[in-house]
Amino acid sequence: MGKKLIQVERLSKKFKDQVALKDISFSVHAGEIFGFLGPSGSGKTTTIKILTGQLAQSSGRAFVLNNAVEQIDESIYEQIGIVTDNSGLYDRLTVYNNLVAFAKLLNVDKKRIDFLLKRVGLFEHKNKMAKNLSKGMKQRLILSRAMLHQPKVLFLDEPTSGLDPVTTEAIHALLLELKENGTAIFLTTHNMEEATKLCDSVALLNDGLIVEHDTPKALTLKYNQDKRYQVLLKNEKEVNVAHSAESIQQINHWLLNDELLTIHSCEPNLEQVFLEVTGRELV
């Protein structure tokens, strides 16, 4: 496991009477994608704002790149990338000029702009005004901007929300590439499929409280209480069987008689885990 790049210890945030975060703790390492999962209003964006120095916590401690978040300054911003719902673009500038402005600020070679634009499939649109881009293209441009300076830590708030499957797939590929290069990625999402596919570890957030925290695999196994199997037989009959001595005998029988086509264990997905833990759906 790589170096610890984000560390959160008993972090809480109150807005007047409303508690947004309650004593949350976790850490994210270099080369790790950490999924912060929860429904809208559960405190995901608040956490990103605190970790990026845009909002002060009420209590607890948090460190990004070994710096307390209260002391995040320009030197830290040079090493992190942020993509949120509110990450705006300069509408009247072209795709290319939107990135040039930040390349100059962050002392990045302009060659990297072309590289990134090709990587996110925007190179052919580099001279298009940002205002004329589709939502997916804008999101890819925002993501390119956040990756321009090859950040050590990347904060992504619902980066694929509302995007088409092709764009989502392209963004996933990029994130996995960044992870391979050692970037720590803090990803908030309410898309459990995305989390299962990308994340090395996930924390389930409900009403500001982390209710579960582990790898997606470990969580689904932990909540696989009734251990069932979905069997497809060659006669196209589908059977769902429980884990018991009797059903194992039956499966053996199908196997020996070459009647079995496919067999899958029926662990719950993260969405079902969340429902079981909190009693509410991820909407």
């Binding site: 120095g53 705006g88 673009l89 500038l93 930040f102 100059k104």
Partner: protein, 249 residues
């Protein structure tokens, strides 16, 4: 606090590109010169030095043009982009991309100040005042300082307002008051005395003196008024910036 010239330069270039992509921002300085030329051709040519003349046409035009450029141009050109950046959340992106607030303000201020100062100079021939009659150092110092004050007022409005609509709503009464100064000074003596203590009043005094061939003499009142306005607007801006931040949403 250390400032990065590279970042100031990057902000400056960004602001120039944004200005070129939205030429309506340059409308006020161009309109100030155009308005002065058109008014000059329409108004009777009065000489303030002659008996019976209520005011000098060229002085009135220069005064009007300067107020128009410095007040309307300076305030709207500085408040509107900040409000727009807040509204479109690009300011937050800049601030979380390692730009310090001071670097942003300096980088944004330089192109505005250059445009305002250039327009202030072009207004001299446009209003019909002879360059030879102008004590250029005094003219430049006073108009540049007044332009800076306007930019700071614009920054205060932009930092306080949540969006462009709110910024223009707050600006309107301030702009109306400032642009009325030359006219109010002519028609009401008591009010003229009070207006001498505004930075617009100092500009009006300067242009009146130049046009009436009286020459302009530095005086403690004008210098103190400008210095006081500069310090007050800078102080208020720093206070509002510290209280609201650049992007308080």
């Amino acid at each position: 606090m250390s400032l990065s010239l590279n970042k100031i330069n990057a902000v400056l270039q960004l602001r120039l590109k944004l200005m070129l992509s939205n030429l309506s921002l340059l409308f006020t300085p161009i309109f100030a010169i155009g308005f002065v030329i058109i008014m000059g051709s329409l108004l009777p040519n009065l000489d303030g030095g002659e008996a019976g003349a209520p005011f000098s046409t060229s002085g009135f035009l220069l005064s009007f043009g300067l107020i128009f450029n410095i007040a309307i141009g300076g305030i709207s050109m500085s408040s509107s982009p900040i409000a727009e950046e807040k509204e479109k959340h690009t300011l937050r992106v800049l601030m979380t991309s390692s730009v310090k607030g001071v670097e942003y303000f300096i980088g944004s201020m330089i192109p505005l100040l250059v445009i305002l100062v250039a327009t202030n100079i072009l207004l001299i021939p446009a209003s019909g005042v002879a360059f030879n009659d102008i004590p250029l150092p005094a003219y430049l110092v006073i108009t540049t300082l007044a332009s800076l004050i306007s930019i700071l007022i614009g920054y205060i409005i932009g930092t306080y307002a949540k969006n462009q609509a709110q910024a223009s709503l707050i600006s309107t009464p301030i702009l109306i008051t400032l642009t009325s100064i030359p006219v109010l000074k002519i028609f009401n003596e008591n009010l003229a005395e009070i207006l001498n203590y505004t930075y617009g009043g100092v500009i009006a005094n300067l242009s009146d003196a130049l046009a009436a061939d009286r020459g302009y003499q530095w005086n403690v009142t004008d210098v103190s008024v400008l210095a006081a306005w500069f310090i007050a607007t800078l102080g208020l801006f720093i206070y509002i910036y510290k209280k609201n931040g650049l992007d308080s949403d």
